[in-house]
Amino acid sequence: MSGFQHSTYTPKTGLGRWFDQRMPLPRLVYDSFVAYPVPRNLNYAYTFGGILSMMLAIQILTGIVLAMHYAANSGLAFDSVEHIMRDVNFGWLLRYAHSNGASFFFIAVYVHMFRGLYYGSYKAPRELLWILGCIIYLLMMATAFMGYVLPWGQMSFWGATVITGFFSAIPLVGDWIQQLLIGGFAVGDPTLNRFFSLHYLLPFMIAGVVVLHIWALHVAGQTNPTGVDVKTKGDTVPFSPHATMKDAFAMVAFLFFFAYVIFYIPDYLGHADNYVQANPLKTPSEIVPEWYFLPFYAMLRAITFNVGPINSKLGGVLVMFGSIALLFLVPWLDTSKVRSAVYRPWYKLFFWIFIADVVMLGWLGSKPPQGVYPTLALIGAIFYYAFFLIIMPVLGLIETPRKLPNSITEAVLQKKAGGTLAPAGATAAPETRS
């Protein structure tokens, strides 16, 4: 399915031919984003890759302008952010777009990842594609965490204290790593300076890995909801205009929700305490990370007991980092030959329980670690691990999948014939054509 192997690009102008012989950039763009064949049965869950590219661009553009007005100094940072909000022309828009943009970036990446898990997008020959995605996700988490520290509010400061504190749990080198991260013995001005520097660097590293991610995608080609490989030309449509128009519509729809939050409830996803300047002498009553880290935070706090030489703190840190490390192994943990959950009734059921489990963990992450909450979080964490380490490998061996269609086109036609309602597009076609 490689667009690169059989290029159909023929430059029409003299300049085009001149360019093509020296540096075939137009050919690369044409092959990757115009002629590149995509399966004809992709649904809207497959539009989030495009949406994520858009969000990365929005974050980089708003971030560059914000950095022009921001002061990375513990004495000035909080006021400089308020200066942006009050005195910089449309500074409030830039800042709200950037801070909520991080949240929407994560909304999109979670849909993108769950789609991959549902349709088995990580299976051969797309293991590297999946792993590159996991690396992007890790970089995103680091970028978002450091970005949240920059406004230098109470949650920024105490969140940074708690999260860098994780590293001190590592035996032997833990304290050294923690001090390297925060540039001293406590979170302070050196922390803010290095986080700002790294927060500016990491998005460009993300962009670099995104290029590799898309490269790997264009070698293997997209999966599709049936999980059946593309067999004939009739199974695909050219990227432009089909995928471009569908992605464009999904992007506008996504922007609609994004705009709703920016303009009407811009502080909804944030924490009120972050409008209070960082105070190292005053701990907030509850330290809560941003919503997109809550499931991991819940698993961290679920380990309240020591296991042999591993104390509860190190145990929690291992469980939390392990929960992300597991994602890298998914291509080899899933033993099923069938890609798509559509044809795997048991996997489909466990997938949705897994989603419910992650949502429950997210909710527990926002609760104080008292009463029944740590126990529930422990149950949630056990299921999270069991999903990857037991359910995925075992189901592939014992589950009887449903019959796969012979081809993508067959699946599409079956769906049309089987549905009681004719597809909206088919009936409306004559009108739009006139």
Partner: protein, 285 residues
């Protein structure tokens, strides 16, 4: 094997369903602040088309100036910003000149005082946080520039879901109003109030606050005939502080409305284009 799987699945679902119920039983155990939920008021700036009531903001400014500013600074608001409250340039100039602002050093290297200018910021009542704490029983009164955004009582499930659709963004002013009108209540039995503090069931950090009840009926004179009651003062100053924390709220909602309309129309056009492109695929085998 199938039965084992079914059992597992049932267990998972049961655990997920049981979780909220079990959590609620335990929630009452530790003392949770605020003790009472702040009542939800209707504000002129609530909702997608809400705007500030300028007369209310002017009254709120008066309350801040005559009462709150004795202890609470407003560091991020400049006198020039007050034009947004409906004052003319000349009125702002006159208002600013009532204040003495420290400036300098002059050519002799001395600091000096001069009347305020519109470009100056509200001067703080205390020279530094330590002085503020020393004069107030050890707790420095917080700055008021962002207080309406920095205070929000927890909303809890499912209220926080509804808040997305009702666009509830007035937790701050609701809290300020509740706190200011929440003094002079009898604490529940068994609750001891430390001396030098005042019981207030709406206070977010504890059962009582170091702040004495700041408002009383008739304390601030209103020129526009509004009732001179604690409730009215509290409402007006809460609105004023919301403006101070979020001065671009009106323009944000105005632009937002245009952006939403644009995205709706643009999205519809893109959808039609997409449908036209894909209709041709639907007929090919």
């Amino acid at each position: 094997m199938k039965n084992v799987l079914k059992g597992l699945a049932a267990f998972g679902i049961a655990a997920a369903l049981a979780a909220p119920a079990m959590a609620q039983e335990n929630a009452a155990e530790p003392m949770h602040f605020p003790i009472k939920e702040p009542p939800q008021l209707h504000w002129s700036f609530s909702g997608p088309f809400g705007t500030f009531d300028k007369e209310q903001l002017q009254r709120g400014l008066k309350v801040y100036k005559e009462v709150c500013s004795a202890c609470h600074s407003l560091n991020m608001v400049a006198f020039r910003n007050l034009e947004a409250l409906g004052y003319s340039e000349a009125q702002v100039k006159a208002f600013a000149s009532q204040y003495q602002i420290q400036d300098g050093p002059n050519d002799d290297g001395k600091m000096f005082e001069r009347p305020g200018k519109p470009s100056d910021y509200f001067p703080a009542p205390f020279p530094n946080e330590e002085a503020a704490a020393a004069a107030n029983g050890g707790a420095a009164p917080p700055d008021f520039s962002l207080i309406a955004k920095a205070r929000a009582a927890e909303r809890g499930f499912p209220q926080f879901i509804f808040d997305i659709f009702t666009q509830y963004t007035t937790a701050g002013p609701d809290y300020i109003h509740a706190l200011l009108t929440g003094f002079h209540q009898t604490p529940p039995k068994g609750l001891t109030i430390p001396s030098g503090t005042y019981y207030n069931p709406y206070f977010m950090s504890a059962a009582s606050t170091h702040m004495p009840p700041p408002l009383s009926d008739g304390q601030v004179k209103y020129d526009d005939g509004s009732p001179e009651t604690v409730n009215q003062y509290a409402t007006d100053v809460a609105a004023f502080l919301m403006w101070a924390a979020d001065p671009h709220m009106e323009v944000r909602k105005e632009i937002g409305f245009r952006v939403m309309i644009f995205l709706l129309i643009f999205g519809f056009l893109v959808y039609l284009t997409k449908r036209k492109v894909w209709n041709e695929v639907a007929h090919s085998h």
